[in-house]
């Protein structure tokens, strides 16, 4: 029996660009290049490894995002995923985590799954809560923040390195897994992979395909409201000294002046 894996991937503004908010206080996607959230590459990589171990597996990558988000799907397909689903609808603009997770959960159910894999956090919203929310919505075990993951005989096991302890986890499929950037380097798409990706199917769904109403999502439907966003004032230029033998002592003098010593 085939193992159906759905990987959730987010399309985000490049973190090394000059990220800004627009007037409606949503993310400005026009002035900075978008890409597949780097942390979701780890999710795609683990999906590929799990699929390689399984007798028969199919990987679907899923994104909720604007038209350009197809780029994120293409990248995942060129890494080796089999097919893609793009949930795209003007009414999705400005969705918060509750809205986004609602759409993702509906899409995952419609697609059919045994295993859902996500990244640990997006590189823009960086909330790190969507995986737990998805597990709650889907009613499946959450096996989250794994730095090591394995799927065998309908069971997923993994290691979660927490604040106070490292835990070994186990759950039965269907389940939701999120993986950290400690789970293993993500592969680069090969030339062959990039060519093959062009022929792989990308389905587009909108809200009506998911039986969702426009007021359940988007800026208006959000459960949260952003009232203001202000650029942090640039830090006032600090004192910079060149070490000519006394650098440590000068620094100590500064720290003493600030009452740290």
């Amino acid at each position: 029996m085939s193992l159906r894996i759905v990987v959730c991937v987010k399309y985000v503004p490049d973190a090394t660009g000059d990220r800004q908010f627009t007037e409606d206080l949503t993310v400005n996607r026009d002035d900075v290049d978008g890409l597949l959230s780097e942390l979701d590459e780890y999710a795609v990589e683990q999906a590929l490894q799990i699929a390689e171990e399984a007798d028969d597996a199919e990987i679907t990558v899923l994104t909720v995002g604007p038209e350009d988000a197809k780029d994120a799907l293409r990248k995942a397909l060129s890494m080796g995923a089999d097919k893609a689903i793009h949930v795209e609808d003007d009414d999705l603009h400005g969705s918060d985590v509750m809205g986004t997770s609602l759409v993702l959960a509906k899409a995952i159910e419609k697609a059919g799954y045994d295993l859902v894999i996500t990244g640990m956090a997006s590189t823009d919203g960086t909330m790190g809560v969507l995986p737990a929310i998805l597990a709650e919505r889907l009613g499946v075990p959450q096996v989250t923040l794994l730095s090591e993951v394995k799927v065998e005989d309908g069971t997923v096991t993994g290691r979660r390195d927490g604040d106070t302890a490292s835990e070994q986890l186990e759950a039965s499929l269907p389940a939701l897994v999120s993986v950290t950037d400690q789970s293993g380097e993500a592969r680069y798409p090969s030339f062959k992979g990039i060519m093959a990706a062009k022929k792989k199917p990308v389905e587009s769904w909108d809200l009506s395909d998911l039986d969702l109403e426009s007021d359940e999502v988007g800026l208006e439907g959000s459960w949260t409201a952003v009232d203001s966003a202000a650029q942090r004032p640039a830090r006032t230029a600090g004192t910079i000294v060149k070490d000519e033998g006394e650098g440590g002592k000068q620094l100590a003098e500064f720290l003493a002046g600030q009452k740290f010593i």
């Binding site: 959000s222 202000a230 650098g247 440590g248």
Partner: protein, 320 residues
């Protein structure tokens, strides 16, 4: 006055500092009712009362340790049902965020994560967040349901405010999902005797410039002279020079100490995401062009192998 649920992060009854900070913030919007779960829950009552908890709801059951996250959500939901609070506050640890998020789904509420401040507002609590590697400051609210907000460590002062702290047992019924993810093994992290990274007032971090695990003692010695926690960049962690649990940054710990000292760290955006809100930033780097110098209050362009030991000696001498 409205009650505010505060989820207690504790280790065998020892309450962690971020929870005491939450009590300070909770008092701005109502009367704190604390929820403490697991072994030692009742032992938390005294310190919680000392810091403003009018009531402490406690529960212990094997489920809390044998299964991941969900049993704690069931318990927090039971507390929510018992109290009907004006808001629910949870410390922004990885687990805290997951607990808060699942509760928010169940009670049909919005969630705000990683708040760095909290004030009462006309339409409910207003949270401050740092966005895009802390280059923006946003103010947000939960607009549907009871606000569920997770708060980062070091977001408020710990203040004594003695209250009743009456202990009540919380009745919890575990749902079908509670036993979904089994914890089959647990290796506690060994204590180094140094302060917890996210809670420390001073953090001293080393990066690729430290050039080897065997050199990290230089960073540790400086940290110890200041009573600081030790952090590391991902480059240092990936090289195996220091444990991942000490990584500072986007995919490591997010720290907001009074003083952050970066040695041999270039200041990549992902590193900055985890330390940019530090009050005072100091860097030692031999490259005058390193981006970290854009952030610093004081920077030394120099070789860390010369500067750091000299600094450590000078601190020791001054402290006598």
């Amino acid at each position: 006055m409205a009650e505010v649920l505060v989820y207690v992060d504790h280790v065998d009854g020892a309450v962690r500092k971020p929870t005491l900070e939450l009590l300070t913030l909770a008092r701005r919007i109502g009367e704190p009712v604390a929820v403490a779960l697991g072994a030692g829950a009742e032992a938390t009552a005294a310190v919680l009362a000392e810091h403003g908890a009018v009531k402490v709801l406690t529960a212990d059951a094997p489920e809390f340790t044998e299964y991941l996250v969900v049993p704690k959500v069931d318990a927090l939901q039971a507390a929510y049902d018992a109290v009907s609070p004006a808001a629910v506050l949870v410390p922004s640890s990885a687990e805290g965020k997951e607990i808060a998020a699942r509760l928010a789904v169940r009670i049909g509420s919005g969630i705000i994560t990683d708040a760095t401040d909290l004030e009462a507002g006309d339409e409910g609590p207003v949270a401050t967040q740092a966005a895009f590697a802390a280059s923006f400051t946003t103010k947000s609210r939960v607009s549907k349901g009871t606000p569920v907000i997770t708060v980062k460590p070091n977001s408020a002062p710990v203040e004594a405010a003695p209250a009743a702290g009456t202990v009540e047992a919380l009745a919890v019924t575990f749902g079908a999902l509670a036993t979904g993810t089994k914890v089959t093994g647990r290796t506690p992290r060994e204590s180094t005797g140094r302060p917890e990274l996210t809670e420390a007032a001073i953090v001293v971090s080393g990066g690729r410039g430290v050039n080897g695990a065997e050199n990290f003692h230089i960073i540790e010695a400086l940290a110890d002279s200041l009573g600081a926690a030790v952090g590391a960049s991902r480059a240092a962690v990936d090289a195996g020079w220091y444990p991942h649990s000490n990584q500072v940054g986007q995919t490591g710990k997010s720290v907001s100490p009074q003083l952050y000292i970066a040695s041999g760290i270039s200041g990549a955006i992902q590193h900055r995401a985890g330390m940019q809100t530090s009050k005072t930033i100091v860097a030692i780097n031999k490259d005058a062009e390193a981006p970290i110098f854009d952030l610093v209050d004081y920077g030394v362009v120099g070789d860390l192998f010369a500067v750091v030991p000299q600094l450590t000696e000078e601190i020791k001498a001054r402290k006598g």
